[in-house]
């Protein structure tokens, strides 16, 4: 197997892109700019999945979020009059609460990562080694295999939930079926 190409350099670069993108999403007044920043963030996230040797998740992330959901977002945003939106005063002044929540989350991360006085971390030491070539197949095994599969039920329940959502959307959107 090749040595991993995913050096810390890539990680820090991608994280920087994600953080900048995330900040742009909440600070831009123009909704289309926010959506484009969000797409950048999602693509950088897909690249992070690739660094974790999870190409299947990365591919699904690109198809679903960047290629599917964000297109629908843009589709809706384009129909709104951006000019009027930009002139209006924004009334969701909750930055204090948001800041507190972000600080709490950050503190949690720091707490998890730092060793306690007894030298224990909450994380498992060492890294699992993943085989990139078999990623898709191992996900399928985890989901559907007769012996190793553990998540079949959760998977089917989730798809049922989505089906209910689709039917609900059709019922609510259509007056006469």
């Amino acid at each position: 197997m090749n040595p991993p190409v995913a050096t810390p350099f890539f990680f820090y670069g991608l994280s920087l892109i994600m953080i900048i993108g995330g900040i742009l999403v909440i600070t831009r007044k123009n909704a289309v700019h926010s959506a484009l920043a969000l797409i950048t963030t999602l693509l950088a996230q897909a690249a992070l999945y690739l660094m974790l040797y999870a190409p299947f998740v990365a591919g699904v992330q690109i198809i679903l979020y960047a290629g599917g959901i964000m297109v629908l977002f843009l589709f809706v945003i384009m129909l709104i009059s951006i000019e009027r939106n930009m002139r209006e005063r924004q009334f969701n002044k909750q930055w204090l609460v948001g800041l507190a929540a972000a600080a709490a989350l950050g503190a949690l991360f720091v707490a998890v990562y730092t060793k306690t006085s007894r030298g224990i971390t909450l994380f498992v030491e060492g890294r699992m080694s993943y085989v990139e070539n078999q990623n898709t197949q191992s996900i399928a095994d985890l989901l559907f295999d007769r012996r190793a599969g553990q998540y079949m039920f959760a998977f089917e329940i989730a798809s049922l939930l989505l089906l209910v959502a689709i039917i609900g959307a059709v019922v609510m959107a259509k007056k006469r079926i």
């Binding site: 190409p55 299947f56 297109v71 843009l74 589709f75």
Partner: protein, 432 residues
Amino acid sequence: MHDLIQYIQGYLGSDQTPGAAGNWFWATVYILLVFVGLSIAVIAMNWLERKILAHMQVRLGPMRVGPHGLLQPIADALKLLLKEDIIPAEADATVFWIAPFIVVLAAFTVFVVVPFGPTHAITEMNIGILFMLGVSSLSVLGIVTAGWSSNSHYPLIGALRSSAQMVSYEVAMGLAVISAIMMTSMNEEGIGTLNMIEIVRAQQSQGMWFLFKFFPLGLIAFGIFAIAMVAETNRAPFDLPEAESELTAGFHTEYSGFRWSLFFLAEYSAMIAVSSIAVTLWLGGWLRPFPNLLSGPTSNLIFSLFPALTFLLLAGMCFFSTARMPKHPLFKIQTIGLAGFGALLAVIGLILLVPGVRDRVGDIYWFSVKVAGFMYLYIWYRGTFPRYRFDQLMKVGWKVLLPTGLALLIVTAIVAMRMELWAQLTGGSVRP
């Protein structure tokens, strides 16, 4: 220096793609080769489309710039580069500036996994086909932002149409692709693959193109994909986003010069990209016709002569037209030019006759020939079909292609499952 040369030579003779072997030098070389090849293919398509459309409509097409208009695409490219690059005053300049690059990036990035041969691909990916579908679906973002940022009515309507169309046809396309991927799992281990190279290998080991697998299931899947891919690339008869009779030029109405040419480039390379998906999944990728049936040294030799013969045939056509050129002195330069072009083709043909070369380019040749067939189909569609109305387009996408795709998926799964069960019961092989 010595290490570098060894590093470069180390890859030669490897049976992997440079990306999978982790050799950055050859990966860069392959990327450049693919980029140059694509650019040449787009230029050739530009000329061919105008010529073929013209002949279908009983016209001559470009005849003035160069012999038979051969230099027309180069003249066009020069014109586009020299044109003024206008950004409308009310446009959202940043987004307007970024949009063409999104489209071009999406259209070119997918070629990272396109397998021109077992080793002739930039890299091999576990999620190959998923990557291709995902990245090519990003191009719709560029089209939507281009239409929105122009701040004008026609582009906005074009962008709206385009996003609705691409999102709806992506679904049917995905279903057709899944049914082909399901066919790759008909082997001893029962493990399928998303890897583009392995998909072609699966067709080789199963002894048939997936087009004919579970007849007519493979054919139906291919049909769904062939319709959806025309809609995905916004080409006639689904070219509503740029319907020139209603929307001037659709989403790129406000673009000019270099930026417009980027949209043009992206459209054609996206056409090549989806055609290569179709070729890889259903038409046996780089495999020559009957690789298992006619596998003796004689037929190997005969099939390896095809690339050279193609170029020699083209050269012959050039020489034939040279002989038919008007003898007037004004046509002297054109006659010499055409003869020179024919000589160039003949030299390429002769180089392809060399045994060491012809054994290595066979896979690339067969892949390109199949893709070229699709390119001709695109032009043919444009020459023959009238444009769909938007509600008809949506109806075809959601009410015809999607249910057919779903039913096809279920039927393919049942047939494949039954064959596997049958193989388990009789203790035989799942291979037909």
